[in-house]
């Protein structure tokens, strides 16, 4: 009964000082909205990264050649050509936890379709590479083992390539194009994958069978040399063990003795994702901290206004005490006022925060995810801030001496 009446009283007091209460609310509203908007942006960034990582395929392990060391001068990673088709096939045969292995060789080539031409990366891959990296097709399909065996002149185009080689509405599948002046037939178009975690356009590619690339388009240093090998594990728990097994098999195949360093580098999808995920995690935490600070400032605003209110209403407090208000009554009254500010500020802040996140997506095009956790936490925090910063003024009010309070001018 008393609590309810106190809430009514508190609301009336706040309504009486609308402008002041509104300005105080603003602090909390901005704080809560900032927390929600910032976390949404952070979460959005995190999910975008996760999506990119997922676009690499599932449980993927990549093997590159290490840099060459010539006369003590170390070359760039991937500079040497040490990996072979044989390596890839052997890995699959010897390591049961690997479901498949694939490989590719790569070069930049001029592609021509009628009067259009375009320059992009051409990948000569095994069909298995396509499945490992989880490519899907918006039209047509993949090449097969038979295409690989016969070195068929068939190509799969990425979305960016299609946009640049074909007029709008023109059907690419079935079309005849020339890659480095060699005629090819388009048999498929990839569904777009977007940017890779490293920032390059994953759709600006042309895939052709490895054998075709080796013999007719890209050429090769020695027969069966590949740019990189990709393997997939059945389960993500197997990834770490698989890496070690791959290392062991590869060292034997490459005849590396005891102290000799690996002439290849093994990376898992998890390794590659970690950096980016770490970055976006840092971003989220930083945004959270900034937002929390503004919520704190909002709380100090509440305290400030309540202290003014206590001073201003000293006489009222004296009157209330004279007619029988106990300390707990006075305390509750001011605490409820503070909490009301927190609750109302929290509710408005949640609305503004969600709106701000939406607008960020619409205007800036950043992905945002409104997590219900963030909304809950921000709201609870705002009420807690109100309560915490209301404690001191409320206690100050409750400790007033009624005689002095009654005499206060």
């Amino acid at each position: 009964m008393f609590t309810w009446l106190t809430v009514v009283t508190a609301l009336r007091v706040l309504r009486r000082n609308r402008l002041r209460a509104g300005l105080t609310l603003l602090g909390i509203v901005i704080g809560v909205a900032a927390v929600i908007a910032m976390v949404s942006i952070g979460e959005g960034a995190k999910q975008a990264v996760q999506k990119q990582i997922a676009s690499m395929g599932t449980n993927v392990i990549l093997i590159w050649p290490s840099g060459t060391t010539v006369g003590g001068v170390r070359g760039a990673q991937g500079g040497a050509v040490t990996l072979t088709v044989g390596d890839a096939l052997d890995l699959k045969k010897k390591i049961p936890s690997l479901t498949d292995t694939g490989w590719y060789t790569r070069g930049a080539m001029q592609i021509v379709n009628g009067s259009h031409n375009w320059n992009c990366s051409v990948y000569g891959t095994s069909p298995s590479y396509l499945t490992i990296r989880d490519w899907s097709y918006s039209s047509g399909g993949a090449f097969t083992q038979a295409d690989l065996d016969s070195a068929a002149r068939v190509a799969i185009l990425g979305q960016t390539v299609v946009e640049n080689l074909f007029d709008h509405g023109e059907e690419p599948v079935g079309a005849a194009i020339r890659i480095n002046n060699v005629p090819f037939r388009v048999i498929g178009v990839f569904s777009p994958k977007g940017q890779s975690a490293q920032g390059w356009d994953q759709d600006d590619v042309v895939f052709i069978p490895y054998s075709t690339a080796e013999r007719k388009v890209l050429g090769t240093l020695f027969l069966g040399s590949v740019g990189a090998i990709a393997a997939s594990a059945a389960r993500s728990e197997d990834l770490e063990d698989a890496v070690e097994e791959i290392r062991a098999v590869m060292r034997v195949r490459h005849r590396l003795q005891g102290e000799q360093p690996d002439d290849f580098t093994i990376r898992t999808q998890v390794d590659m994702g970690k950096v980016q995920e770490g970055t976006s995690e840092t971003l989220t935490v930083m945004l959270m901290v900034i937002a929390s600070v503004s919520l704190l400032v909002g709380g100090i605003g509440i305290m400030n206004i309540l202290l003014v209110s206590v001073t201003e209403r000293t006489r009222e407090i004296g009157i209330r005490m004279a007619v029988g208000a106990k300390r707990v009554h006075i305390m509750t009254q001011f605490l409820i006022e503070a909490m009301t500010l927190g609750v109302v500020g929290g509710i408005i802040g949640v609305a503004v925060g969600i709106l701000a996140a939406r607008l960020t997506t619409i205007i800036a095009g950043w992905p945002t995810i409104i997590s219900s956790d963030a909304v809950m936490i921000a709201f609870i925090f705002s009420v807690a801030v109100g309560l915490f910063f209301g404690l001191y003024p409320a206690n100050k009010a409750a400790r007033l001496n009624p005689i002095e309070a009654l005499r206060y001018e």
């Binding site: 004296g318 009157i319 209330r320 005490m321 007619v323 029988g324 106990k326 009554h329 009624p402």
Partner: protein, 240 residues
């Protein structure tokens, strides 16, 4: 002590000593006073005489430094601040010189205040407060805020607020100090009326004509009772 049980107020050798920095102020120096139920007492004295201090102690807003004060047989010196608040809420009604209404709050809600802290259901609060306002002649002004009322009307709201709790003691501290002659007379009429109905009224004033309404006059000087005399024959109300 039979007197303690029978009388409403028994003060026994009360001292109040303040310490302001290095200076010790003796506001009360051994005050003993007994007031029975139904009395109408005027406490008089110049400013600084100690009458405000006595008033604060009688109203349970303060405690004596030494000596005892029994109200309705309860020794208030041993009570905690919350228990004193409870006594103020149930047994004492205050009327102040400066009215002391809560600003921007209706007459009805001001009159409700003691019941609010007693935790009565809101309907009952409203009904009792409305009845109290009617008793002081403010029917129809329930929703007026203090600024919409004249000084005399504000003081009547304050009396209604004091009445609503049905206290055993009404303490009026210079109730007419801020009022014109006409309003003063009205307020004193109400207080006399209440006393006739059996309410114990203690009036603090320095005006002789106001004090003349009371039946007993206690004069305080330098923290001591200088004189205590009955000025009117006590009117005994036949008990129904």
């Amino acid at each position: 002590m039979a007197g303690i049980v029978n009388s409403l107020i028994v003060c026994q050798d009360m001292w109040k000593v303040y310490r302001i920095g290095d200076v010790t102020v003796q506001a009360l120096r051994g005050v003993s006073l007994t007031i029975d139920r139904g009395e109408f007492v005027a406490i008089m004295g110049s400013s600084g005489s100690g009458k405000s201090t006595l008033m604060n102690i009688l109203g349970c807003l303060d405690k004596p430094s030494k000596g005892h004060y029994w109200l309705n047989g309860a020794d208030t010196g041993s009570l905690r601040s919350d228990q004193l608040a409870e006594i103020r809420n149930r047994q004492i009604g205050f009327v102040f010189q400066s009215f002391n209404l809560i600003p921007r709050t209706s007459a009805l809600e001001n009159a409700q205040l003691p019941l609010f802290y007693r935790g009565l259901p809101i309907k009952q609060q409203r009904a009792l407060a409305a009845a109290a306002l009617e008793r002081v002649g403010l029917r129809g002004r329930e929703e007026h805020s203090p600024t919409q009322l004249s000084g005399g009307q504000q003081q009547r709201v304050a009396i209604a607020r004091a009445l609503v709790a049905a206290p055993s003691l009404l303490l009026a501290d210079e109730p007419t100090g801020n009022l014109d002659t006409q309003s003063s007379r009205e307020i004193m009429d109400i207080l006399s009326e209440l006393n006739k109905d059996g309410m114990t009224v203690i009036l603090v004033t320095h005006e002789n004509d106001v004090a003349a309404c009371a039946a007993r006059e206690v004069v305080i000087k330098d923290g001591q009772i200088q004189s205590d005399r009955v000025t009117k024959a006590k009117i005994h109300v036949a008990e129904a």
